[in-house]
Each structure stands twice: as C-alpha cells, then as structure tokens.
Amino acid sequence: MALAAGTPAPDFTLLATPDQSLSLSEIEGPAVLIFYPADWSPVCGDELTMFEAASKLFAQHRAQLIGISVDGAWSHTAFREQHKIEFPLLADFNPKGAVARAYEVYDEKNGLCERALFVVDRDKQITWSYVSPVGVSPGADGALNAVEALS
C-alpha cells in the first residue's frame, strides 16, 4: 500500500539530468510526486502530458510537479524533449526503485514504479496519495484538489 496522508514524505536525491540532481528537501512549496511505470509507454505519455497541460493551475499554488520512474536520466532527457515536458523527471535508477520502495509503490514483479500520485506539503508531510490501475492515466484533478486544499 502506498504511503498514506499524514505520513512524513521520505526525502530523496535523484538525478534530474545526467549531471544534475534534485532533492525533495530543496523544494520550498508543495510538491506533486508522479510515479509512473516507464518513459515511452503510451499511457505514461498521456498522463505526463495532462500534468504539463495543468502546470499553470499547479503553479498558481507554487506546487512543483515531479515525475519519477526507474528509467535513467538519459532516457528522461529524450522523453521530456519528445513530449515537451517542462517539469523534472527523476531517475529512480540506482539503486533501482529505492525511492518507489520508500513510498511503497514499487512493483517488485515487473521491476517498475506503480502509477501513483502523492501531494507533499511544505512541511514535507504527505497530505494525499492515490494509486491508479496501471493501464489507466489518472488525470490531474485529484492532485490539483489536494494542492488547492493546502492553501
């Protein structure tokens, strides 16, 4: 089961590009963590594109969108470019899936992140989480409502 609302969000430091890393503790405002199975799969493209389309609404609440999968930073770089995704995609690559495990959304059988969303407030508490069936893009409404509930 994914970590639930009321749980402290485990900190992490992951590569955002081949030579830059990002830590949750660096984020000042709220964060939306978007765990997804894999770059290049069709549902993930839809899911991240919808969050990109919604990014203005999240920005109104100074919420930082962060995608996370087990793909490497080079793959993320190419995927972001292809799908015109502006927010960072982090590589939960080495050790593989460690952050997804910490949030209890690692699919051990397939070696991928589950399709899960977390809203983390500025005090680094999880205030909302949701796991979507792997074949269904969840949309951005639940996370947006949770972010709006913070302010």
Binding site: T49, L57, S137
Partner: protein, 181 residues
Amino acid sequence: MSARLVNPVGEHDHVRGASDAKITLVEYGDYECPYCGQAYPIVEQLLATFASDLRLVFRNLPLADVHPHAAAAAEVAEAVGEQGEDKFWAMHDTLYQHQRALGTEALEGYVRDVGADPAAVQVALSSGRASARVEADLEGAIRSGANGTPTFFVNGVRYDESWSYETFEGYLRAVLATPSE
C-alpha cells in the same frame, strides 16, 4: 475513483444530436491530436447508429506543448461558432478532416469554406473571447479528470475503456439497457 465531469452540459456547449437523447457523450478533444483524428469517424458512426439516443458535446483540450497548431485551431473553431452552431460543426468536421494542415493560411481558408464571416472571426480572436473559451474548456477538462486526448465522458462519468468502435458501441448499448436512476 471514476472521474466525473464537474461542469455540466449547458446552453453554452456545442451539441450535435437531440437534446432529449438518453446518452450524452462529452468529448474533450484536440484538433491536431492523431488519436482524436482516429476517434472522429468512430464518434460519427456512433451518432449514426444510436440516432436520437445519443448526443455529442465537444469541448476543447488542446495540448499546445505537443501540438503547436492545436490551440489556434480550437480558437478559430470557437470564433466561427459565434456565428452559429451549424458553422461550428462544419468547422469541427473540416478541422478533423484536415488535421495535417492547420497552419494560419489553411485555417483562414476553412473559415471561408464553411461560410463564416472572416472579419467577425477576426474580432472574436483578437478580442480574446475565443481564447478565453478554450482556456475555460481546458481548465474544466483538468478539473474533471481528463486523462489524455481524446477523453470521453458518458453521462458524466469518464470512459476509460477502449474507444474502438466495437467496444464503445457495446458499452453504450449497456448504458441504454440500464434503467436510469
């Protein structure tokens, strides 16, 4: 958690089909999205099959980051729509039938083809009315849990199955067979 349409179908919507149809299908679409282009004839076929039992509502969800002409196409369709619903739908059909030619000149040509007044279209565009409507559609889509393009809502509930004709038709038949609350 099955996502639901938060903004009900109203008078401002573009509707194709009978107002008392048993099923209302809301499509959030992007004129440049190839999947929406594939869905277009399927939706038309569903409308033909279900006739008076089905009506279509089209709203805009242009994914402008990936589809550079999508927002302009949506705005022109809305600007044309100010001159009548029949002109809106003629433009809608034209755009989906010419998805690969949505540049500025092409759009101007389609405005003339559907018999809209180009000067009035220009006013709707430059006043910001058309873009405001498209932005409002986009925000409504996000708040309703639209999860890609196209996203369909059947009687207000997001449709997460395949929109291949056979699957979609079967689903709508099941909805028709279910007594309404």
